[in-house]
């Protein structure tokens, strides 16, 4: 018997409706159970787990380096943010310092990831509410970013480009030209989306005052990221607990006090502009130097040096066959992913495989606020509310 709501005796006019898991606006395999009175949602319940893959169990049977490939698949719209969270957590466990060039490239690429993820959000959110053309524009620009990812890592989506101790390899010559082209072109594209939506009367009617949550409630229900900042809470991990040298970049944290779907839309649009500023700064200030830390027992040696140096060959053999041994301890590393606080809780028992690796997925926590947003509102608003919290079911179910 799947999860359902119990009928309340004496309320025969109410209908219990199951929405999803195969529903185009649930962004994957989310199932909602709605109790309706006419078209108004009285109670609601969400049912997840259709995409549960047991990542956390799988981490325990893989070495730290192997685990990176799993993180791409948790949030498949922001693979590099997940790579970054996992690498930072492991590096914290190892107390490993990584070179500035690697850090700058990491920042540049994760900010592009944020733009890319927000583009998918904007396109699908708009199409849910009925604005078809925005979707096509957004995916056009997203494709440009995916091309940059493909240029540096060889993969459009499952990049696995960040490694423990730095990057997998130096990006190819001329990749910055693509980034530069994108940075020049993108601001007017954002204006284009805004011209389609920001003052569009239909968009305003569908989003303003819909899905309201106050700042206090947002904190209590564990909302994070743009959904929290859309309720006027000024909290961004990049600013407040900077990692990867984010304190060296100049950007503003977008907030909006209204707490409705429209406010969260404005916050994400502004975030795209700010991310673009960070990308530009990272591109202009990109330092020279190595992209891997000098830690031969952790970082894979260069292919060339393996042919000439016996130490490199031995380290390569040790890393591949056994892995490395971090000290015993536990760390929690949170980063600001496009969806909110993405945390990796890593426990080491001194063996080459994590004793426990738990993912604090922002979508999983944000979904908890959904019943709060939709109860008492019309069924058509449910679609707008699912879009506004920007969930990725891969991350919800893990």
């Amino acid at each position: 018997m799947p999860v359902t709501l119990e009928r309340i005796p004496g309320k025969a006019e109410r209908v219990i409706l199951s929405m999803g898991p195969q529903h185009p606006s649930t962004h994957g395999v989310l199932r909602l159970v709605l109790e309706l009175e006419g078209e108004t949602v009285v109670r609601s319940l969400y049912d997840i787990g259709y995409l549960h893959t047991g990542f956390e169990k799988s981490f325990e049977s893989m070495t730290y380096s192997q685990g990176i490939t799993l993180t791409d698949r948790i949030d498949y719209l922001a693979p590099l943010s997940n790579n970054l969270g996992f690498c930072l957590a492991t590096e914290k466990l190892l107390d490993l310092e990584i070179p500035p060039r690697a850090q700058w490239i990491r920042v540049l690429l994760t900010e592009l990831t944020r733009i890319q993820s927000h583009l998918v959000w904007l396109g699908t959110h708009a199409i849910d509410i009925g604005a078809m053309s925005v979707f096509l524009y957004c995916f056009r620009e997203r494709e440009d970013i995916l091309h940059i990812f493909e240029a540096v890592s060889g993969q459009r989506m499952m990049t696995s480009y960040f490694r423990i101790g730095g990057l997998a390899l130096e990006p190819p010559l001329g990749w910055l030209k693509h980034v530069e082209k994108f940075v020049k072109m993108f601001p007017e594209r954002i204006d284009e989306y805004e011209a389609l939506l920001t003052k569009n009367p239909i968009w305003l009617r569908r989003t303003q005052g819909v899905g309201y949550i106050s700042g206090e409630d947002a904190i209590a229900y564990g909302l994070s990221g743009p959904s929290l900042r859309g309720s006027g809470v000024d909290w961004d991990i990049r600013k407040k607990q900077p990692y990867s040298n984010y304190d060296k970049f100049d950007f503003k944290v977008a907030t909006h006090p209204a707490g409705d779907v429209y406010a969260r839309y404005l916050v994400r649009i502004e975030e795209m502009r700010q991310s673009l500023r960070i990308v530009q700064q990272a591109m202009e200030g990109l330092p020279d130097g190595p992209v891997k830390a000098n830690a031969p027992h952790i970082v894979m040696p260069e292919r060339e040096s393996m042919k000439t140096s016996i130490e490199a060959l031995i380290y390569h053999f040790k890393i591949v066959t056994e892995g490395f041994h971090p000290p015993v301890g536990e760390v929690y590393q949170a980063i600001e992913s496009p969806r909110g606080e993405l945390g990796f809780y890593m426990v080491s028992d001194g063996s080459p495989k994590p004793f426990r690796c738990h993912v604090r997925a922002p979508s999983f926590a944000n979904l908890q606020a959904l019943p709060k947003l939709i109860e008492g509102r019309l069924i058509a608003d449910v679609v707008a509310c699912i879009g506004t919290i920007d969930i990725v079911l891969g991350e919800v179910d893990r």
Partner: protein, 157 residues
């Protein structure tokens, strides 16, 4: 961020407020972990949430560890965040392997709801007083709790 225990405000204040609550405390890589006696957990949580100067109003995460075959077998791990002071704090409680039970934190932070359901689902730890303790990620008729260390990862279950 507070690097050591002696300078950690949350540790000192909680010690003052309820000297019985803290069983053990650790600092590793600038992160503070307080081991709380299970019976004192909810009081300690309310204190940490409301005390001016601490204000751990955001429950970032609840998860668990299985230390099989040790006894007490489980640890439930709470990650707190203070949006005012930008500090983080980890609370651990030890839970026995026979009939594992803990008190729910839902009255303190509503966000604990889904986190605790996930821990119940994957570790089989029962949270007493939880409003809706059902399996979350796995089907209702699933047998066993996959994140336990004695759960087989290959072959027939």
């Amino acid at each position: 961020m507070a690097a050591d225990l002696a300078n950690n405000l949350a540790f000192k204040e909680l010690q003052k407020y309820d000297p019985e609550a803290i069983e053990d405390a650790r600092a590793f890589r600038d992160e503070v972990t307080l081991y709380i006696r299970p019976a004192h957990l909810i009081r300690a949580c309310e204190f940490l949430r409301d005390e001016p100067g601490l204000k751990f109003s955001f429950l970032a995460d609840v998860t668990a560890l299985d230390l099989y075959p040790q006894e007490p077998r489980f640890e439930v791990v709470y990650h707190l965040l203070s949006i005012e002071t930008a500090e983080r704090l980890r609370l651990n409680i030890r839970v026995s392997g026979q009939n594992p039970r803990a008190n729910t934190a839902v009255p303190v932070w509503p966000s604990a709801n889904a986190f605790e359901r996930e821990v119940f689902d994957l570790f089989g730890i029962v949270f007493e007083g939880h409003p809706f303790l059902q399996r979350l990620l796995l089907p209702e008729d699933w047998e066993g709790h996959p994140l336990r260390k004695d759960y087989p990862t290959e072959g027939y279950r």
